[in-house]
């Protein structure tokens, strides 16, 4: 029973981290129709910048400055890269961001090398917040939860309650009309791209010390972010949140409990075959939940695409 509570907290941390990545990506995608393959690379840049800054000025300065640098870089990429490619259609944009992802990975390896960086949790947060039946919850995890919830609140407020947010929402669905009303839509695009990548940067800064800061960190997280926004529904902040938490909890629980497929099949009344080694479904019978935990989100995505193509909270059918 205690373990369930612990897993709820762990899943929440994983989910919120995923949310910070997918929130920016989903806004960028719905607004510009660009699948930004380099999004996870900005997450990696955030971690590396923060590591470098933390060496000189400490963790907290890194937390403030690194996302800013990443955001400015993101805005620059939109202004001088994507905007020029945009006129040639979506495929060149896709290739552009794909190339950018490779470029950033090479750049990071060139500057920092291929080793793991010793980017660590700040001492002030390096203690056990509380324990549940011998399972300690590090204070840093609580800190991660607060940061991401704070960012979600802030984003929600800006998007729904302020004038800027309304213009952004309008530009999401009717960019031409908004432009005709005298708003500078390219500037909005640039701003959204910058903020989206900055969010990825924040995620990198706070995830770097726990998940490791190494050149493969973007690759490991890259595909799952796309799965999240497809499940949540493109362009929906709530969708991104719900999908992220869902994925966080599904994978955490699947890994924490060794549920064997044979138990499930026995449970619904199918008896285990006598001679398993000759059986054509042997792999199916011997599979356990931790083994398939990481593909469960993809299965969920396929189901969503079949039964609700717009995603959980998506509005548009296209």
């Amino acid at each position: 029973m205690e373990l369930i509570l612990v897993n709820v907290i762990d899943g929440l941390v994983t989910g919120l981290l995923l949310f910070m990545l997918s929130a920016g990506l989903t806004l960028i995608f719905s607004m510009m129709g660009v699948l930004n393959f380099a999004h996870a690379s900005f997450y990696m840049l955030g971690a590396y910048f923060a590591y470098q800054i933390s060496l000189a000025l400490g963790f907290w300065v890194g937390l403030l400055i690194a996302p800013l640098i990443v955001g400015v870089m993101g805005a620059g990429v939109e202004r001088y890269g994507l905007r020029r490619v945009h006129q040639y259609g979506h495929v060149p944009e896709l290739i552009f961001t794909f190339g950018l992802a490779l470029l950033i990975e090479e750049l990071v390896q060139f500057v920092w090398g291929k080793n793991q960086m010793a980017y660590d949790i700040p001492d002030i947060l390096n203690f056990t917040a509380f324990s549940i039946a011998g399972n300690s919850i590090p204070a840093y995890k609580i800190f991660m939860i607060f940061i991401s919830v704070g960012i979600f609140m802030g984003l929600l407020y800006v998007l729904t309650k302020t004038r800027v947010g309304m213009i952004i929402q309008a530009a999401l669905s009717y960019p031409r009309t908004v432009e005709a009303l005298g708003h500078n839509v390219p500037l909005i695009f640039m701003g959204v791209f910058g903020v989206g990548t900055a969010l990825a940067g924040v995620a990198g800064v706070i995830a770097g010390p726990v998940l490791g800061t190494f050149p493969g960190m973007a690759f490991v997280l890259g595909s799952i972010v796309f799965v999240t926004i497809v499940i949540g529904g493109l362009g929906s902040l709530w969708g991104a949140l719900v999908a992220s938490l869902l994925i966080g909890w599904i994978t955490t629980f699947a890994k924490s409990y060794n549920i064997a497929m044979s138990d499930i099949l026995n449970g619904i009344g199918i008896a285990t075959p006598e001679n398993l080694s000759d059986n054509m479904f042997r792999d199916l019978w011997t599979v356990t939940s931790p083994q398939i935990a990481d593909i469960l989100p993809y299965i969920l995505m396929v189901l969503i695409l079949i039964f609700r193509p717009a995603g959980l909270f998506g509005k548009r059918e296209s």
């Binding site: 990975e105 080793n115 010793a118 050149p215 493969g216 490991v220 890994k255």
Partner: protein, 414 residues
């Protein structure tokens, strides 16, 4: 005009021929390992050690035979067996006769099979497989062949030595085994279960599981299971990012006991573990460097640090590979006839500068050598890893470990 073109073409051609002739003097060793992706750091550090060992031990001392140099040619296999086979073909097409690979037994299994086939079909361009780190026992048992030589101890030998140390601790009651889901991870788990149940039947194995290799983002759920199981020792064969992720996660989430590992050092890992893992992580390996065994090894390590200030010699067996290969080529009197070189390697006894002897067992091509169990610490460290002040200090040594261990290898010799 036509004549000038001809003249140009001829002189260009002769330049090319001359250049290839100059290159042909080098004895090339193809290094097929991950140089990009999640395990890039492990592969790149191995490459640096190879290049340094070739320069320091062979080229700067006048080369082998009549002044031929060793040249390490890197190939990135992205840790994929499929990609490795393509790179192997490229290497063979370039006329390379020596293949070095170590990261992932999955890759090694694919390579050894492909090389055996190639050598059977193409007796004129046979190649040798110098396996410096892939430790799946099958490679020197059921799947052994004449072309494959393993310079690291296999998973069974390592586990035998490691469990000797573990079994001496009477307070250990519950052990958790976790590893990467592929042939090596499974071999470690099987060896751990077999050794523990015979050496300490009272110890309970409270968990035995595998996780996907190189794909786990967050090890917290696994750490929770380990803590919940009440384990007081963990055994893992994890390496690269998987080792660091697992180690950090179990320590952060409240696990108190020791972690017995195969590869938890170097490549940035030692620095990243730092204080948190002091006296907690133990490693089984060959060739300990703290305390250093010989003055020659000290000079070598100093020279390495001068060349790669950020690097570590965390796989000292690479130096044994180069040393033994050079000795075998000298003994055979040729580098082109790999059968003659292989026959020299078989049964070779080599004095390693890292201490002890290395005996290449002829019946299965498994190197027999001293095994050391070391601890991650910052005390008495001459040579630290990652410039962190932390390193691995040898606590106990098993001389010529598993010298008489059985093998199922039935080798067919050419």
């Amino acid at each position: 005009m036509k004549n000038i073109t001809k003249l140009g073409a001829v002189s260009a051609l002769s330049l090319i021929v001359g250049a290839t002739a100059a290159f042909a003097d080098n004895i090339k060793i193809a290094f097929i390992d991950p140089l990009s992706g999640p395990f890039a750091s492990t592969g790149t550090n191995g490459l640096h050690q190879y290049q340094f060992a070739a320069d320091h031990m062979v080229n700067e001392k006048g080369g082998v035979l009549d002044g031929q140099n060793f040249e390490i040619v890197p190939f990135d296999n992205k840790i994929s067996p499929k990609e490795s086979l393509i790179q192997l073909q490229v290497a063979i097409d370039q006329g390379i006769r020596y293949i070095a690979q170590g990261n992932s037994s999955g890759v090694a299994n694919a390579l050894t099979e492909a090389i055996a086939k190639h050598n059977k079909r193409n007796p004129d361009s046979r190649v040798l497989f110098l396996n410096y780190a892939a430790v799946d026992p099958a490679l020197t048992n059921d799947k052994c062949n004449f072309w494959h030589f393993r310079f690291d101890a296999n998973a069974d030998i390592k586990m035998d030595a490691l469990t000797d140390v573990m079994a001496a601790d009477d307070s250990m009651k519950k052990v958790y085994i976790i590893g990467q889901d592929y042939s090596f991870g499974k071999a470690v788990a099987a060896a751990a279960v077999a050794n523990l149940s015979s050496k300490r039947p009272d110890v309970e194995i409270v968990g035995n599981e595998l996780h996907p290799i190189g794909k786990v983002k967050d090890f917290t759920p696994y750490a929770r299971k380990i803590v919940a199981s009440g384990a007081d020792a963990i055994i893992t064969g994890n390496w690269g990012a998987d080792m660091l992720g697992l180690g950090k996660s179990v320590i952060e989430n409240g696990y108190e006991g020791p972690i017995f590992t195969y590869y938890a050092a170097g490549s940035g890992m030692t620095a990243a573990f730092g204080e948190s893992a002091k006296d907690r992580i133990r490693l089984i390996s060959q060739g300990g460097i703290n305390p250093i065994a010989t003055e020659e090894a000290r000079a070598t390590y100093d020279a390495f640090e001068a060349k790669y200030p950020e690097g570590n010699i965390d796989q000292s067996r690479i130096f044994n590979v180069i040393g033994m290969l050079a000795q075998a080529i000298e003994g055979a009197g040729t580098a082109d006839d790999v059968v003659a070189v292989a026959k020299q390697l078989e049964g070779m006894e080599y004095d390693s500068m890292w201490g002890g002897k290395i005996f290449m067992r002829p019946q299965d091509h498994q190197a027999i050598q001293d095994m050391h169990v070391g601890v991650h610490t910052n005390e008495n460290i001459d040579f630290d890893y990652d410039n962190s002040g932390y390193g691995v200090f040898t606590e106990s040594t098993v001389t010529m470990a598993s010298m008489d261990s059985p093998t199922t290898c039935k080798m067919k010799r050419p």
